[in-house]
């Protein structure tokens, strides 16, 4: 507990670093259950799934800041809402790409018309539309207000797309869907939880870190444009 370390980096950033490096090591070296077809790719659980957890987490933060913006009209809240949404989009795209690679080697194809996959893709489109919507205003206040309202409605749509509709589908290859078990099947080995939960926390914190740095940059830009 050196206070000087926390002066350079706040405690949660130090925690992010520790957890990420832990994930890199433990994710490969700790034992995993032996399952056919999946084989060692089961370790993707530590890297693919946390992308989606981080995305949902950071997009939820985005909604919070959109509500704050509507409540007090401060531009820095809108800046945070945009950058958290942008970070969420990045993590979502990472989730899609990693899932596609995993699918290629376990299901035999990069993409299937699976309810979970299609819903995730549509969910990403909802947020890409948010980014496009923002670009279509010239007035700062108008852009901030309308996109905040859009953002607040986009989040529940995403939640329904990712967690409700795929579960209602009759059959799906994706774990956790259509009567297909998720974790519990793999989790005969409880050591997987020892990596999975820290990994989820690590990527959530990382997404927040990236979003805050980008927000601070945007705040500076906004301030500088006011000075000139």
């Amino acid at each position: 507990m050196k206070p000087s370390l926390f002066k350079v980096l706040s405690w949660w950033k130090v925690l992010t670093i520790i957890l990420l490096l832990y994930t890199a090591f433990a994710g490969f070296l700790l034992p995993v259950p032996r399952l056919p077809i999946l084989n060692e790719t089961i370790r993707n659980l530590y890297f693919h799934v946390p992308m989606w957890f981080a995305m949902i987490f950071i997009l939820f933060i985005s909604v919070v800041y959109s509500i704050l913006y509507l409540a007090n009209g401060k531009m820095k809240n809108d800046n945070m809402a945009v950058e958290t949404a942008n970070t969420g989009i990045v993590f979502g795209i990472m989730g899609l790409l990693t899932g596609m690679v995993w699918a290629k080697f376990t299901w035999g194809t990069f993409w299937t018309g699976d309810p979970k996959l299609n819903a995730a893709a549509v969910g990403m489109l909802v947020y890409l539309a948010y980014a496009i919507l923002r670009g279509s205003f010239s007035d700062d206040q108008q852009r901030a207000r309308i996109s905040a309202i859009y953002n607040i409605f986009a989040f529940p749509v995403l939640v329904v797309l990712l967690f409700v509709l795929p579960r209602m589908a009759q059959d799906s290859l994706h774990p956790g869907m259509g009567g297909n078990p998720a974790f519990n099947q793999y989790d005969l080995n409880s050591t997987m939880r020892l990596v999975f939960y820290p990994a989820v926390l690590a990527f959530m914190l990382l997404s927040y870190w990236i979003a805050t740095v980008r927000t601070r940059l945007r705040n500076l830009e906004y301030k500088m444009s006011g000075i000139q």
């Binding site: 980096l9 950033k13 992010t16 670093i17 990420l20 490096l21 994930t23 890199a24 090591f25 994710g27 490969f28 070296l29 259950p33 032996r34 399952l35 056919p36 084989n39 060692e40 005969l188 080995n189 409880s190 050591t191 990382l206 870190w209 990236i210 740095v213 601070r216 940059l217 500076l220 301030k223 500088m224 000075i227």
Partner: protein, 83 residues
């Protein structure tokens, strides 16, 4: 304090029961499933681990430097604005 001790001991008991469960699972069938055993026996998995660790560390260093750069700008701009 008493509560903490009770909670901790419960947590330990839970851990042990989970570990015990793990030992009960039949190993013979699971051994047939192919895993990266040879790869691991060769010790080369550590190459991959270190590559990924370097990758994560590199990205983190980049993020930290970005963070500090932004802070420096903040200090300059906000320090100037307040004066």
């Amino acid at each position: 304090m008493k509560k903490i001790v009770i909670n901790l001991s419960l947590l330990f008991m839970l851990t042990f029961s989970l570990l015990a469960q793990e030992n009960v699972t039949p190993q013979n069938k699971a051994e047939e499933v192919e895993m990266a055993d040879k790869f691991r026996a060769d010790g080369k998995i550590y190459v991959v681990v270190s590559v990924v660790a370097i990758l994560f560390a590199g990205l983190l260093v980049y993020l930290i430097s970005l963070d500090r750069k932004v802070r420096k700008m903040e200090d300059e701009l906000e320090g100037g604005a307040h004066k």
